[in-house]
Symmetry: C2
Subunit: 234 residues, 2 copies
DNA sequence: CCAAAAGTGTTCCAAGTACACCCATGA
DNA sequence: TCATGGGTGTACTTGGAACACTTTTGG
C-alpha cells in the first residue's frame, strides 16, 4: 500500500439490514428519515463510524441508538459488503458504507430514539424496495439474498427462533425465508440426522391442538453437511 | 443514516488478493514494501481510493500501477470484505480497507512500477502468512478461503484456465486449490453433465503422450447445480 | 371418537464413488 | 506395441422426495 501524507478524505458509515420473523413473515427494520436528503422516505438504519471504534462496534451502537435494542437481542451479525460508488450519497462528502446483516428472534417494537427517526418493522412482502432512500434497495436485496443462501449450508436459521424451539418452528423459518413449503417428515429426519445441529432437551411443549413437540437447542455446528436444499433456481 | 456536517475523517484503501495458478500451484501476488511502516516486509498490493472513483475502479487502477497488468488480464474480481479495526494501520490516520479477490489465468511476471515496490508471485505453500505486513495475513487467508468455497458452487474455476481448456486442466484447478485429488472419470462426467457449464469446441489438443483431449470454453452458467463437492471438513 | 400436529416407515429415484475397461496418440 | 492420458461402462452406495402410516394430545 502506498502512502502519501495527503490522501483523499472520506466519511465512513454503517448501514444495517436487521431481519427478524414476525408472525411467520420476514421483516426488516426501517426508519423514516427526518432530514434531507430523502426526508420522509424509508431507509435502513445506520450512521457514521467514529474514529476510535471498530466497524462492528459502530453497527451495534447505531442499532442501539436508533431502536433501543441492546447486543443481547442480536443472535447473528455478519458483514455484508461495502458500498462506495461516488454519488451514492447526494451530499458533497464522499460516503463509503459498510453494510451489515443482523438477525434476531425476539426483537420487540423499536423505541424511537435520539435521532427522532421513527423505526418500525416492515414485512418484505409489503415493501416496494424502490421506495428506499440512497442505494438501500440494493443493500437490502443483497442482505436478504445472503440470508437465504446461508440458510442452506449454515445453522443460521436458529438465529430466528428462541433459545428452545420445536422442529416445526425451525421449519417455519426456512419456509418463511425461502418462500416455499417443505415436507415436514423429511425435514424432521434431515435436521435431527445432521450431527451437532440440534441438541434435544427434556422439555416438550403442547400448543393447543395436536401432539406436543419436543424442544431443541442449537448445537455447536455452524456448517451443515450435507446442506439443506431448496428448489433449483432456473 | 444520520447526518452531521462535522463527521469523522477516514482514509479508504483497497487491498488486493491476486490469485493465479503457476505450474499447478496456487500463487498470490505480493509486493515488498519500500517505505515505513513495515518497510522491507511483504504485503498485498493496494493503495488509496481517489475521491472521484468507484471502489472497483480503484482495485483495477492499483493493480495496474503496481504490476502493469491491465483489466484484460483479469478473469474474475469480487469484493471480499472490509477491514477497519482502529490501529490496523500504525499511522495516525484511521484507514479502512476494502479487500478484493482478483483471479486470472495467464498473468505474466509483474513489472515494477511507479511505487518502486517489487511485485512478485509467491506460491502459497512457500509462504508463511505471519510475515505479511498490517493485517494482510487475515485478508489473504480470508481471500483464499473464499476462492476455495466458491469453486464448489460457481464456475469460478474457469477463471484460472485459458479461454480454451481441457477437462484435465480444469480438474487441475480444483486439485491445486483444494489440495486433494479427484477421480478423473467422475469429474469428467460431472462437469460435462452440468448444463451450460462447459461448451465444447471443435478443437482438440495433443500434449505429447496420450490421447488428445477435447477443448472446451466456459459456458453461460455461473452457478453449479448440483455443486462440486470436496471432502467434508471435520 | 375426531381433528390436528408430531414423528416413523417404506419405496422410489437421482446422484456420487470406485474402479474396470476401451480409445487414440507419440515414441 | 507399449506407455500414457482421454474418456466410457457399470455396479454399488448414499441421500433426497413422496407419501402412507402411527402416535399423542385437546376438545
Amino acid at each position: 500500500m502506498s502512502f502519501r501524507s495527503e490522501h483523499p478524505v472520506f466519511a465512513v458509515t454503517v448501514d444495517l439490514v436487521v431481519l427478524t420473523l414476525r408472525e411467520r413473515r420476514l421483516c426488516v427494520l426501517l426508519i423514516e428519515r427526518g432530514v434531507e436528503p430523502y426526508a420522509g422516505q424509508l431507509a435502513l438504519p445506520g450512521g457514521f463510524v467514529r474514529l476510535d471504534e471498530d466497524l462492528e462496534h459502530a453497527a451495534y451502537r447505531e442499532l442501539h441508538e436508533e431502536t433501543g435494542f441492546g447486543p443481547e437481542l442480536v443472535r447473528g451479525i455478519e458483514q455484508l459488503r461495502t458500498y462506495g460508488a461516488p454519488g451514492r450519497d447526494p451530499r458533497p462528502e464522499r460516503v463509503v458504507s459498510v453494510a451489515w446483516v443482523i438477525l434476531g428472534a425476539d426483537f420487540p417494537e423499536p423505541v424511537a430514539a435520539s435521532d427522532a427517526a421513527a423505526a418500525s418493522w416492515v414485512a418484505l412482502d409489503d415493501l416496494d424496495v424502490g421506495d428506499l432512500a440512497f442505494d438501500h434497495a440494493e443493500i437490502l436485496t443483497d442482505g436478504v439474498d445472503r440470508a437465504r443462501a446461508k440458510l442452506e449450508y449454515t445453522s443460521l436459521a436458529t438465529a430466528f427462533v428462541a433459545e428452545e424451539f420445536t422442529i416445526s418452528e425451525l421449519r417455519g423459518v426456512y419456509e418463511a425465508i425461502w418462500g416455499e413449503s417443505l415436507d415436514a417428515a423429511n425435514f424432521q429426519r434431515k435436521v435431527t440426522g445432521t450431527p451437532n445441529f440440534l441438541v434435544p432437551t427434556d422439555h416438550r411443549i403442547s400448543t393447543g391442538r395436536g401432539r406436543p413437540a419436543q424442544l431443541f437447542r442449537r448445537g455447536p455446528t455452524t456448517e451443515l453437511h450435507p446442506p439443506m436444499r431448496r428448489g433449483i433456481p432456473t
